[in-house]
């Protein structure tokens, strides 16, 4: 999958990133989020198992109660795991970004949707952050800092690392093509 997506011609070269075209996130973002979801599910399962063990030993419930409690726990876990696997695809479907001469526009949210516009002239400084799992799949999060109050930090996760760097370079002031 990694090879396939890097070989695709649509991967934007850094020069043309600011073309005002709305782009989806890197598809590998879904896989990454699902992986994180599995980890979260595993942690929760371990905790639940531990809790169940303590409950069975300490409270010594009857057969019916024990089966009921473990059944509920299992159902909750399955639901959580399913949600963790289903959600990233939804998130991916409704997320996109657009860069043009004016700045950066981010579209996010499945049920509660928001379009956020950061004018280029308002960018104070930028971060490109990569966690260990992101690095493994060549992804990065672009973080734009503005002088704003509630939107002082605008994050765009799920970018290909090169794309994040290209957008970063475009947004920073003082470049040769800087019209402001």
């Amino acid at each position: 999958m990694e090879l396939a997506s890097t070989a695709e011609p649509e991967a934007p070269p850094s020069a043309h990133i600011a073309d005002g075209v709305s782009r989806p996130l890197d598809p590998r973002y879904v896989a990454l989020e699902r992986l994180i979801g599995w980890i979260a599910t595993a942690v929760l399962a371990a905790a639940a198992l531990g809790g169940l063990g303590v409950f069975l030993v300490v409270a010594r419930p009857g057969w019916s109660a024990a089966i009921l409690v473990s059944g509920l726990m299992a159902a909750g876990l399955v639901l959580f795991g399913w949600w963790q696997q289903a959600w990233p695809a939804l998130e991916y479907r409704y997320a996109s970004y657009r860069v043009d001469g004016n700045g950066l526009e981010i579209r996010r949210g499945v049920y509660f949707r928001a379009v956020t516009n950061v004018p280029r002239s308002r960018v104070q400084h930028t971060d490109v952050a990569q966690g260990p799992l992101q690095r493994r799949s060549g992804l990065a999060t672009l973080i734009v800092h503005t002088a704003g109050n509630e939107s002082a930090v605008v994050e765009l996760p799920g970018l290909t690392h090169d794309v994040a760097l290209a957008i970063r370079d475009h947004l920073l002031p003082g470049r040769s093509d800087d019209a402001v």
């Binding site: 400084h125 690095r135 503005t146 002088a147 109050n149 002082a152 002031p173």
Partner: protein, 500 residues
């Protein structure tokens, strides 16, 4: 190619010191708690020191910075990597902190500040003095060239001060009555009593008399099968009235002292507010630093025909060492409503508040506002039913009607406008607020859609500025109008350069 640099190797020691400082006290407590066993102390110290040392060394090794043509670049993190670009042109301050140990070692703790956020954008701990010099040269060296062609606006001639507003005792009394800061006074008095009085005494009064007594009598009042006696109820109401009256009186006294001799003057491009009897305050508000202006009219303001005007300012460049990111300042704690446009005219000469054509929100916004308030009412009704039984059912139509009235007034008053380089927004039911934000001050524009918005094809447009407080956040817009407003605001923000 610009080369990567590291911090001074002593950073490791300083880092350990700082990390260790945070846990030093708990550590001591543990050791003391377990007795003064020599070996144990060593074990604990080791247990705590090892991870901290590892972290400090890791930080030192992973932290790099370099000077690029336009930006200062800082890379850090080992597992979670971060690469930060800070444009030289955005850096406002390079603060150097040197405590005794730093001075002995000949190093400094460097903090770089730009306009965003509350914390320093970068902390370089620690650098040598030579490194600091170089940083200043590189960052501010390029600055000199760019600052020269824009020209310094500070050269404005020093006009004589012109008085815009003066509050006499009568206005201050009105202010005290309207704002009701009495609870602050009561709270402060209680706090003082708590501090000064012997703790036993306070405990006796507060703990026994007040809390237990109050809770008990309340419980008796509510839970009594025979119902509360009328005399007790009357006493309670009377006590409440006296308390409310007293807080208003306190509030007036507080206002007379705190805002004594309030004067707002304009001198050139600066506004200056002076007030205070005991603590004399003289606040200078440069006009170019005003982010938003908010006019507040509470119910009592409207009864008295008054309003309050506040501005949110931001930033601080050059001479000021202390940076204040967000600050709300009084322009007029209280003034007659008809004088508001006149004052606003001083700040934004191209905006006439009286001539603004407020645009309404979606025609069906009332239904949404009503549902929202009804949901709030459901809880009250449920609580009443639980407490008082079926008798409380008569409250349902009252609460529904009340919700409808409030929703109607809210939607009626809701409005927005773009006029003369500003975006304006007003809202409120009985108390009202109007906020005006110059388009130049817009930082981020957001269009938000909840599932309820989508069902009724509405949306919300939010504007973020560097100032805090009441902002422009317009709900219940028709979808196409929201799109247009969003596009207009985003475009006009990107066309202008933001200046502090």
């Amino acid at each position: 190619m610009p080369s990567d640099r590291r911090l001074h190797p002593l950073s490791i020691l300083f880092n350990i010191g700082r990390q260790f400082g945070a846990i030093a006290l708990p550590l001591v407590l543990i050791v003391v708690g377990r007795g003064t066993d020599e070996d144990r102390w060593n074990v604990y110290a080791l247990v705590f020191l090892v991870p901290y040392t590892a972290i400090a060394v890791g930080r030192y090794l992973s932290f790099r910075y370099r000077y690029e043509e336009n930006d200062l670049v800082i890379r850090r993190g080992f597992f979670f990597r971060n690469q930060r670009h800070i444009p030289y042109s955005r850096i406002q301050n390079i603060d150097a902190v040197q405590n005794v140990v730093h001075r002995l070692a000949g190093v400094v703790d460097v903090r770089i500040q730009t306009g965003g956020g509350n914390e320093p954008e970068a902390t370089l701990s620690v650098l040598t003095l030579a490194d600091l010099d170089e940083m200043r040269r590189r960052v501010f060296g390029t600055r000199a060239a760019t600052a020269a062609d824009t020209g310094t606006p500070e050269a404005a001639p020093a006009d004589t001060a012109e008085e815009l507003l003066h509050l006499n005792a009568r206005e201050l009394v009105v202010y005290g009555l309207v704002e009701n800061r009495g609870l602050i006074v009561v709270g402060a008095a209680l706090g003082l009593a708590w501090e000064l009085a012997p703790s036993k005494l306070v405990e006796q009064y507060m703990g026994d008399q007040a809390s237990r007594g109050l809770v008990h009598s309340l419980a008796r009042l509510v839970g009594a099968e025979a119902g509360p006696s009328w005399s007790a109820l009357g006493m309670g109401v009377l006590a409440l009235l006296v308390f409310l009256l007293m807080t208003r009186v306190f509030s007036v006294i507080w206002a007379l002292i705190r805002l004594h001799g309030f004067r707002l003057t304009q001198q050139g491009d600066d506004l200056r507010a002076e007030y205070g009897l005991l603590t004399r305050v003289a606040a200078t508000i440069p006009r170019r630093r005003i982010q938003t202006i908010t006019i507040r009219e509470s119910v009592w303001h409207r009864v008295c025909g008054r309003a309050a005007v506040r501005v949110a300012t931001a930033g601080g460049k050059g001479e000021e060492r202390e940076r204040v990111v967000e600050q709300r300042e009084w322009l007029a704690p209280i003034l007659r409503r008809e004088r508001v446009p006149e004052l606003l005219d001083r700040l934004l000469p191209r905006v006439d508040l009286r001539a603004i054509e407020w645009k309404p929100v979606h025609p069906r916004a009332f239904r949404r506002a009503l549902v929202r308030r009804l949901i709030g009412g459901v809880w009250i009704v449920l609580l009443a039913l639980v407490l008082f039984g079926v008798k409380a059912a008569w409250g349902i139509p009252v609460i529904a009607l009340w919700a409808a009235v409030r929703a109607h007034l809210y939607v009626q008053h809701l409005g927005w406008a773009i006029t003369g380089d500003v975006v304006a927004f007003r809202e409120g039911v009985f108390g009202r607020r109007t906020t005006v934000a110059p388009l130049v001050r817009i930082q981020v524009v957001e269009l938000a859609e909840s599932p309820f918005d989508r069902r009724t094809s509405m949306a919300r447009v939010r504007v973020d500025t560097a100032g805090g407080g009441h902002g422009v956040d317009v709900p219940y817009l028709p979808r196409h109008e929201a799109d247009a407003l969003y596009a207009t605001l985003a475009a006009s923000a990107s066309r202008t350069a933001f200046e502090w």
